[in-house]
Symmetry: C2
Subunit: 383 residues, 2 copies
């Protein structure tokens, strides 16, 4: 997703303004609790933290899950360097050469890197906007299972689709995993961002799936603290956690200061989540209203997270992005999005699709959509 | 190295005081510049840093190497989450299933984990205390090279041995790597800790080895900032750096705040390094004086880093450590060290050896050695 950064830098040097819809970097102010914790940090020696994480953060996370009726033991939680590391260590622990993991596509492209590094491969469960990117259909999931399958991975709410599982759909996915003795890895880093008023359940809230469920969580999006690089790996499967702990010990620990400051972030109340959710909902509505006016563009309203996947009326999103950065501007403005192909494991899929993150404020989003509409028109006139 | 932590916690709960010689956690006060940078951090949104690292830190590192006459371009440096991550990404980038990497043993045990995760194996170049753990002998190194060899890895100054390469020895290792078209990975995280007045050269200071040399560096030991988790991967080999950058992009970035605060650490002057070096030298001398009085213990004076490897007059260091934590105390005191076996790749080696980190203040080191001497005596009377 960062491959156009060089061209973007060059465009900036030419004085072009770029509206960044390409990465999920929220512009929401990080809660003051983080900065206050930095100021208060006074251990004279900045020493290694425990490999599993500092107790202050682990207890803050337990308290957060306690708030949704989920009791976690300290040993059910490992603090990681971002959700990214939780993902890496999960794949390294679960997958061997030749193994398969079922992931609904489109999916977050770094899943692909982590699975590949572990020597395994993604068995994609293809979804489409016409069905709201839904994938929790027993027969379709079971059709992906074979003797190489080790796990199912889901993102709820979905990145890049914004699809949200109903409690019944989530339970179905858990049931299929348990019946087939598979791990089910649930990336729930966007769990506070749901816009329809639907109850969003964590996989940790269901009883009887303790051996199967692995949850990946993070402070990055929840508290607009992406730079803290603090994630969480949560599971009640002791054998798995034992394996994951080996990785933790190998890299010694996550950042001491970021862990303590992240523990402080958990002190913000539910009104914080409500106001952030409200802000993102407004942005989503702004974005969708504009997208609907672009002729030939196909997309589905996201129910959660802060991304929308769209099929553009262009031949190739990569070529279009290149052109946007090098040959186009509208009164000095252009846009960046994440090109669709890396979100798919099926070859050829996603060629004209893009993911847009609605992490900019309203007026910027509106302007970005106007620039996009103008660009699509001009691109198709000249190509 | 952290496997006895559970037994140690239990001992603490029984009121036992443990002298920790087991991990390289210095007790030296972290420079104030780090804390000041935390206090000054005021970006309203704690956003992702660039995947390669923040320019402030990269430039601080360039300036540090400039101070030893080594010009580095920005693109020669990647900021990592601790030296540990630099190690992980190097192994993942260089090694495939069945590949071999030559590493003098005893070595830092996490090398083993990183190499194994990459599917490769360590070809050990065995050293011994009688020869001061030296390994830079052309015929011995060349005897380890075969068609599977991809790289040589050295630690200079050595962990756990404290051995320091002379400029001639280092050049010989670089020559062997270049002649055989191998990478040479130089872990130089202890480079400021040399006690003999010998000039310690970085592999980066030699001309003509640009395609071969990879340096792993870190702020952890240099500035007593282990909890910052900021390391560095440095190489002028563009193809390698391109591969390493893929890993960097996959995990998005290292901690934003820790990077900025680490950049500030580089503002400490050479007098800081001189005073820390003096303190460690005194500790080494204290430790060596005491070790020499323990009958049957074999060790070599370390020339750098802050570890000493010693063969104890006991049957098995693991059994002895277990006994020290569970059955022994001297007026309520006991000791922990790192058991020797994980420092070796050759099966059976290191069984009665231990690594001790001299990271405690003088009086604690003296007391720890007296406790060790009493323990060895009692253990051998009862076993």
């Amino acid at each position: 997703m960062r491959k156009f950064n060089g061209e973007a830098d060059a465009a900036l040097r030419r004085g072009i303004r770029i509206y960044h819809l390409n990465i999920g970097q929220p512009d929401i102010i990080t809660p003051e609790a983080y900065y206050q914790a930095l100021k208060n940090f006074s251990q004279p020696v900045l020493s290694y933290a425990p490999s599993a994480g500092v107790p202050e953060l682990i207890d803050a996370v337990r308290s957060y899950y306690g708030g949704i009726g989920t009791a976690l033991a300290r040993e059910d939680i490992l603090v990681t360097t971002g959700g990214s590391e939780a993902l890496q260590m999960t794949m390294a622990a679960l997958l061997d050469d030749g193994d398969e993991i079922i992931i609904p596509e489109p999916f977050y492209p770094n899943y692909h890197t982590s699975v590949t590094l572990a020597g395994a491969k993604i068995h994609p469960l293809t979804t489409c906007p016409e069905e709201g990117y839904r994938y929790a259909f027993r027969e379709r999931v079971e059709a992906c299972i074979n003797e190489h399958t080790r796990a199912i991975m889901i993102t709820n709410p979905g990145n890049p689709t914004g699809a949200v599982l109903s409690p019944e759909e989530l339970k179905l996915m858990l049931d299929i995993a348990r019946e087939n003795r598979l791990f089910i890895i649930c990336d729930e880093v966007y769990r506070e961002f749901v816009y329809g008023g639907e109850p969003l359940m964590s996989a940790l809230q269901f009883q009887g799936y303790e051996e199967n469920v692995i949850v990946i969580d993070s402070v990055s999006k929840r508290f607009s603290a992406c730079g803290a690089r603090i994630g969480l790996l949560i599971s009640r499967n002791k054998a798995f956690m034992h394996q994951a702990m080996k990785w933790c010990q190998c890299r010694l620990c996550a950042s001491t200061v970021d862990q303590l400051a992240s523990a402080a972030l958990y002190s913000v109340g539910s009104d914080y989540f409500a106001s952030v959710r409200e802000e993102y909902k407004r942005r989503r509505d702004t974005l969708m209203a504009k997208l609907k006016t672009i002729p030939g563009l196909i997309c589905e309203e996201p129910k959660g997270a802060f991304y929308v996947m769209a099929a553009l009326p262009v031949d190739d999103a990569d070529t279009f992005q290149h052109w946007l950065l090098n040959e186009f501007n509208d009164h000095g403005d252009t846009v960046m999005f994440a090109c669709g192909e890396p979100f798919y494991a099926t070859p050829g899929k996603g060629k004209n699709e893009v993911r847009m993150a609605y992490v900019l404020k309203q007026e910027d989003l509106e302007r970005a959509m106007d620039v996009l509409a103008a660009a699509i028109k001009k691109y198709n006139e000249t190509h």
